[in-house]
Amino acid sequence: MALWILSKKKTADWAQRLMANYEVVGPVAKDGAFVFAPLRRPEELRLDYPITLQSPKAYFLPPEETLLRFRRGAPPEAEPVHQERRRVLFGVHPCDINATWLLDLAFSQDTLDTPYMERRERALIVGLDCLTPCDEHSFCKSMGSLEVTGGYDIFLTDLGEVYAAEAGTEAGQKLLEQYAEITPASAEDTARLNTVLSEKWTRFTRKLSLEPEDLAEMLEQTYDNPLWEELAKKCLGCGSCNLVCPTCYCFDVQDRMKLNLQEGDRRRLWDGCMLKDFTRVASGEVFREHRSGRLRHRFYRKGKYMYEDYGRFGCVGCGRCVRACLVKIDPVEVFNTLDASCKV
């Protein structure tokens, strides 16, 4: 698709025009960190952010959402809740674009998850490339997710005073033409973009000791590795890693009644496989009782199960889990330690 040039100074104007027709969600500063939030003013947009506390997944799968509204009776009545809001997610980094791609597959393969798909189909993603690692924890390049091959409507690259803007879809092209002040990229701009892109790769140094494609087979060999028990002694089982992970999407379903005890709604809420009750059945049996088993399950999902189901990795190397972890369980250390044990 075509390449355009957009002045950085005009970015706020672009956002402002979009705000007339869309809810524009972008990185904003909050309490010394950054979060994705609906912009109240265009100048809140902070495209210089390193990484947000949470990925933008909450805008497709909110922490709590209403699936149905119901009224008791004979027969009862139930109506699904539809999502109409049109959104632009602004400044999404490659790791989160790749994570969203995985969520799209998880919520559309075999059966369409209507609430997710309604939000997703009404959202446009304006991606923003990373030219330096956000901090010492990220290992996106190693997971192959510093690179984006799709999953965005527009993709921006910082060229200093201007952004190079590539439209990834027809909808993205329209978003540029109708709302932004753009000029076609010159041969010089394209050359500059290529230089910037070729120079960024060497700055990303943190990596796994194996190729991500080999994680599944390595994990297969380390099911009974003592590391799971060792980690379980440290792990608090708090589920913070589940909360901040851009590809964790497991959920619980709960009903809430109004005080009239006749009407209510059915909601889904984020849940986490690190929590002991996650596999509890009504009789009281817990099928993944030990923390070591729950840790292993989480890492297997990230390195193996999701890859086998969807052909994409369940880990995008964003490093949010280790940043949130109170005892600093680091996915790179976990995978590398397991890998080393296979090579002895």
């Binding site: 004979a74 027969p75 009862p76 059966t111 998850d113 009504a282």
Partner: protein, 280 residues
């Protein structure tokens, strides 16, 4: 029979069903006869499950206990053990609930035709097996021997007593019943279900075994079935997990990398023997 999952409308929107009859089976289990709104057929495959909705309480996965060959209505055998099931036990004829599904893969009835069938049910495990047993009895001439083993903790916990009585008196079912413990009034066999196996001779290659019961039972019943030489691909079991969505999204029922709600709840032993989380 083509297996289908419900895809029209919202994935999470139940269809409504009316309670036509409730029958007390034991102190803890009731059998509910239900009919979907507008006379729709559930079109379940034996061994599939549904998500039962009690609005304001929640949803619970329950296996269907009746065969699709008995159409128009369907039956759920429900133990009062959680929020939804306890509330369900308070419900009576003329009341309504929600149903999503049927979901998952049931028993491979087409592969079972012409084969001898060995059923081994423990406790509430009879609930999902009954859908297949009814199916087999309704098309009895399509199957070979029917050997039925059922174990319960004590006589008062036996489910479907009237049907057990009927099956015991049929000459085309080899019927074996046991209880773990019993008082002097019990004249039948006493002992765990595995004590019934020495009395059963099978032709292993032409036998399909189907078992359902608590996880602990599987460990011992599987040993018996495999010891009889029945191939691993001809031993089927139905696994219990907490399916919240029924469609492979919510994550709760995953057994290693396998979604029990989609690939199961019925699995062959060959399918699950490599899954370390399957039966512990």
């Amino acid at each position: 029979m083509e297996e289908q999952t419900q895809t029209s409308g919202s994935l999470y929107l139940p269809r409504m069903a009316e309670i036509l009859q409730t029958r007390r089976l034991t102190e803890k289990e009731n059998l509910f006869t239900l009919r979907l709104e507008r006379g729709q057929s559930l079109a379940q495959h034996p061994g599939q499950f549904v998500e039962v909705s009690l609005f304001g309480i929640g949803e619970a996965p329950i296996s269907v206990s009746s065969s699709p060959t008995r159409n128009g209505t369907f039956e759920l055998c429900v133990r009062a053990v959680g929020d939804v099931t306890n509330a369900m036990h308070q419900m009576g004829v003329g009341e309504w609930l929600g149903i999503r599904g049927p979901f998952g893969h049931g028993f491979p009835v087409e592969k079972m035709r012409g084969k001898d069938l060995l059923f081994a049910a423990g406790g509430l495990g009879l609930a999902p097996l009954r859908s297949l047993i009814q199916f087999v009895l309704d098309e009895r001439e399509s199957f070979g021997r029917v050997i039925f083993l059922y174990g319960s903790r004590n006589p008062s916990e036996l489910l479907f007593r009237e049907e057990l009585d009927e099956w015991a008196h049929r000459n085309d079912i080899e019927f074996h019943l046991t209880v773990d413990r019993a008082g002097p009034e019990w004249t039948g066999h006493v002992g765990v279900i595995t004590t019934l196996f020495p009395g059963v001779a099978v032709n292993p290659r032409s036998t399909v075994a189907v078992t359902c019961g608590p996880p602990i039972m599987y460990r011992f019943v599987l040993i018996e079935l495999l010891a009889k030489g029945i191939p691993e691909s001809q031993v089927y079991l139905s696994l219990e997990r907490r399916m919240k969505c029924g469609v492979g999204k919510c994550g709760h029922c995953q057994i290693n990398g396998v979604y029990c709600c989609q690939e199961g709840p019925v699995f062959s032993y060959a399918q699950i023997k490599g899954l370390k989380e399957a039966i512990g």
